[in-house]
Amino acid sequence: MQGAGSVQSKINNPLWLLAEVTYKCPLHCVFCYNPVDYTQYGPELSTEEWLRVLREGREIGCTQLGFSGGEPLMRDDLEIMVAEARKLGYYSNLITSGVGLTEKRISAFKQGGLDHIQLSFQDSTREINDFISSTKTFELKSKVAKLIKQHEYPMVLNVVLHRMNIDHIQQILEMAEAMGAEYLELANTQYYAWALVNRDQLLPSREQLERAEEITNQFRARIGDRMKIYFVVPDYYATRPKACMNGWGSVFVTIQSDGTVLPCHEARMLPGMTFPSVREHDLRWIWYDSPGFNHFRGDEWMKEPCRTCPEKTKDFGGCRCQAYMLTGDAANADPVCDLSPHHDVVTAAVAKAQQAQTKAATAKNTAAQPIVFRDDKNSRKLSQKAQPETT
């Protein structure tokens, strides 16, 4: 049923569909993974277009659906999409900051069949939460957490960790327990987009990281099955790359607000590649046949040391976007790997993080370079920097 092409028969169907329905966001998080040039994107897909995309995604086998953004609640037609997703048989997840999640909306989501909600928290303290997201949202988030519980959703909390909040790990864990979280994702910042711009202020020291992991392990042992805790280390501290997206075009598909379809959140930055839009093609063609999705499938594209590496089937050479950002060539090994000839760019950043730590007396000491908040003004500025030819 999956088309006739010989290439197509070897490609698995996608399982995950991430719908970044808007890049509008009331928060301005400095570690945001949204593209820094989001202000340059075309108009958002309409309700009708999103419903068509959801149908096409389901037809090619997607089961998990994430509504994300930006802040997906900025779309007032989210209720319509949620209900359609349930009808189509998706297991759907709302990935939200909680800003804009009212009693009325959450009731509509419940009725429409939304399966779960992942609430992000920037920190356990109001001070850092509000500083990092550049807004006053801590109390609101606490209220939203209660709403989520009241509507019998599993409480999935996501806290992005970085140098400024990682030392609060004990309080973060206790906050999650007090809220009755069933799942807690302690996701160390991955250095893409806005987070890469702010890397010097965000990358924790090795000591901070080890302490946080130790505290998390102790807490995990105490709380047992009541809370499932995921601790995601920053890959800069690893010696092997992550199996990014479980392989390019392997299980995951992202639809951006303007309909551009990507194999991951970040791939649009890769030079010389074009990614199709659902406005021009259907998802089946995009997944199976588009040059963008086929480009880094398999291992034909690999260079050394990946090409002859026995671990290539495990990590697929790591992340193409990270390879591009840090080495200038997306076909290189992810430099997180200590077998990469470019690994020194990662160790240099890590070394810098240790120094900065000893210098910075307080969490809010953000060093000489000012931290860049994710907002429209900064996006326009960074877009000009990235693409001088378009200005």
Binding site: L15, I60, Y91, N93, H116, Y183
Partner: protein, 95 residues
């Protein structure tokens, strides 16, 4: 001898937040939950299909033996239900 969590007279239901359905693209039954999916091919799917919050383990065994006559299934089904319980997919309904 491992402790038994599912008895013959237990009414079996899916754990909260799990959904069981047929996936045409996979040509298999699947169990969906936050952030994941388990494929349940063949007999696993046949057993889980009968977990409806009404049927007891015994009723599930009998129904399966009716659907697949001539095979003694009790032990296999009970073993599978224990595994499903251990993985957090199902539970015995409390009334």
């Amino acid at each position: 001898m491992a402790e038994r969590n599912i008895e013959l007279n237990s009414v079996i239901e899916l754990q909260r937040h799990f959904r069981f359905q047929w996936e045409p693209a996979q040509q298999a039954h699947v169990l969906l939950y936050p952030e994941g999916m388990v494929k349940l091919p063949g007999s696993a799917g046949e057993i889980m299909k009968r977990v409806d919050g009404v049927a007891t383990a015994e009723a599930i065994v009998l129904d399966l033996e009716k659907a697949f006559p001539g095979v003694e299934l009790r032990q296999d089904v009970m073993e599978f239900l224990e595994v499903a319980y251990a993985r957090g997919w199902i539970r015995a309904k409390q009334d």
